[in-house]
Symmetry: C2
Subunit: 428 residues, 2 copies
Amino acid sequence: MAAVEIEAAKSVEDVMAEMGRRARIAARALALAPTAAKDAALAAMATEIRKATPAILAANALDVADGKAKGLSGSFIDRLILTEARIEAMAAGLEAIAALADPVGRVLAAWDRPNGLHIERVATPLGVIGIIYESRPNVTADAGALCLKSGNAAILRGGSDALRSSIAIVAALKRGLAAAGLPEDAVQLVPTADRAAVGLMLTGLSGAIDVIVPRGGKSLVARVQSEARVPVFSHLEGICHVYVDKGADLDMAVRLVVNAKMRRTGICGAAETLLVDRACAATHLPPIVAALREKGCEIRASQEVLALVPDAVPATEADWSTEYLDAILSVALVDGVDGAIAHIERYGSHHTEAIVTENAATAERFLSEIDSAILLWNASTQFADGGEFGMGAEIGIATGKMHARGPVGVDQLVSFNYRVRGHGQTRP
Amino acid sequence: MAAVEIEAAKSVEDVMAEMGRRARIAARALALAPTAAKDAALAAMATEIRKATPAILAANALDVADGKAKGLSGSFIDRLILTEARIEAMAAGLEAIAALADPVGRVLAAWDRPNGLHIERVATPLGVIGIIYESRPNVTADAGALCLKSGNAAILRGGSDALRSSIAIVAALKRGLAAAGLPEDAVQLVPTADRAAVGLMLTGLSGAIDVIVPRGGKSLVARVQSEARVPVFSHLEGICHVYVDKGADLDMAVRLVVNAKMRRTGICGAAETLLVDRACAATHLPPIVAALREKGCEIRASQEVLALVPDAVPATEADWSTEYLDAILSVALVDGVDGAIAHIERYGSHHTEAIVTENAATAERFLSEIDSAILLWNASTQFADGGEFGMGAEIGIATGKMHARGPVGVDQLVSFNYRVRGHGQTRP
């Protein structure tokens, strides 16, 4: 592959600098590309992904074989492995992104000034987006497509264990871009497993990268926080809470807590702490715990909870700020919604929190007084997902408060500018 | 003053850490404060500023005397000096900010999902905003008030030559906050001239600061770019262009160019480069240059322009990317709007650009194809200002593309979160 030849011949610094230059040129073309051209490219990319299924499967088989030989975990291999069905889902995902409304060029606001100036705020692309992600080949297609739809060039740096899979996928995406007359450099993949490439991306490649989207574990987050010289859509932990209020319907509480914790334990929207109103602990806590245990969940209990659930594991202070991403739930009692809000503001990570109650006034306080990206009333925290929000795919979930917050879809991958129409006005 | 006593007794690290802790507590209270309480505080702050006029003038006189003794420039002293009229303008500015709509709690978008979930995106405060600015006492009041209106706590670090003036102003603001029952720590002033305080703010004070607004010259910008560990509303240069198209009305072109360059030469929205369509250079350039020279403007001319304006100063390559902030204008000819767009994309700073033309199609290309924060058609670049945009005061102008772009008013000093209302939905 051409990309691999470049890697062999040049230093990683040269390779990355060249990618940055190409991305900027492509970004300029994408910013001016009409919606129809972007959508035609996404459709062609889906076609090319389907046509390339044998080549992608062959590349993926090599990645998977190496991964197994290295002793990577079962869940890691599960995220890495591709099948015909998964490749078809990837192609369908590209078509779904094509079907979204174009976020670029939308008039976000418009008003007139007393002096006759007409001002519009109009959505524009961000420019070049760098995405640093895990060894999940499907992210390669999703992230490239989300950037394209929003008029941005993408520099993708996926986990090295999926490099051959991603190279095969990006080759198909580039054929789709070319078929639609858009620059192939709209989607570029870092062609090396050298971790120095990540550091170079975090410097912004001499101004070539406008924003970095880091996806991954704590070591990547820490590295981004210390090294990034460009804006970042930060994603810290998801220490998500479910609060069961005394006004909760018991049956609903059981269903929501079990779903929030156990549907999938490894996602950032999985609940990690259950807070139960002292006023209903005696009636509500035992059936909730019983239902969780039936699904195999371990309970880490506060002293008070231990009195009601004597065989639970005693929680330590560290448990209240731990993202288990596993079948473990810390459980504490609180004094009503005030106690829940105080606990969440103290220990939470401002990601996603849910309240279960039939009391609307109590629910509204929870929704309006907690400073988290997503707050839910009588719904599972596992809805913390761009697809579930109706945004189409998401490039990640942001826990920072700047620019984007919560699921980051195409509507969050744009900036804006002001377009002012006058008839000769000068400023007095 | 209490602040000065703290300075004497503690290290700058301790002082700043304490300010960060207090700001976080105040921010929590401000986020929950009703609109009426914030507006009452702003009105009381205006009252207290007026009542404190003698004390503020006395403090300012000391700053001005020291500044003159240090040999600070006349324009520096002009920005530093306060008068009764300027203090009244400061108070009136607080009342104008009180009259703005509250940006917090606004529902930015709302939609329903097929599963019955109702999703709202609601504006929320950013948290704690650190503002680093010049020795301009009026910014102390403006910035504090803009943060308060948008539900944010402010940590203000003004230029050290205005420290006594700012201490007197902030004391009045705190009395206004207290009168309205809001925490005095909502507006805090760094009580020391030690430049280490700036570095500490750029680290974010252990997570206490959510965003930094730097206002100032190139040395501050450079320091922020290399040291900031928190998000920044960046403001780079304003290398603003006016393009006079062959479709321009000559009289309008003369008026707009003169206003864009000469109304005030020291502001970031002042024009620095004039581009004239080759097709109308012979007719349009000489009268524009004559009008500029009549106002005392020096012309730095490209080779072609020198042919039409033989006594102009020859421009060097550096002129095309120089922000003069003075009565100097670089002038070049271009091939129509395409040439103008290419020049601006190559040399501009993505701040503000204007086109003069009667041709709507040409104007729309200029507005839609240039990636700058503000684009104007038949209006002066000097309108690049939050007040002129109808935003009330502005805390600065952002040239970055993340979160805010262009004038940063109260509507840009907020984040958002998602509030999801269900009736027991679990994720399948």
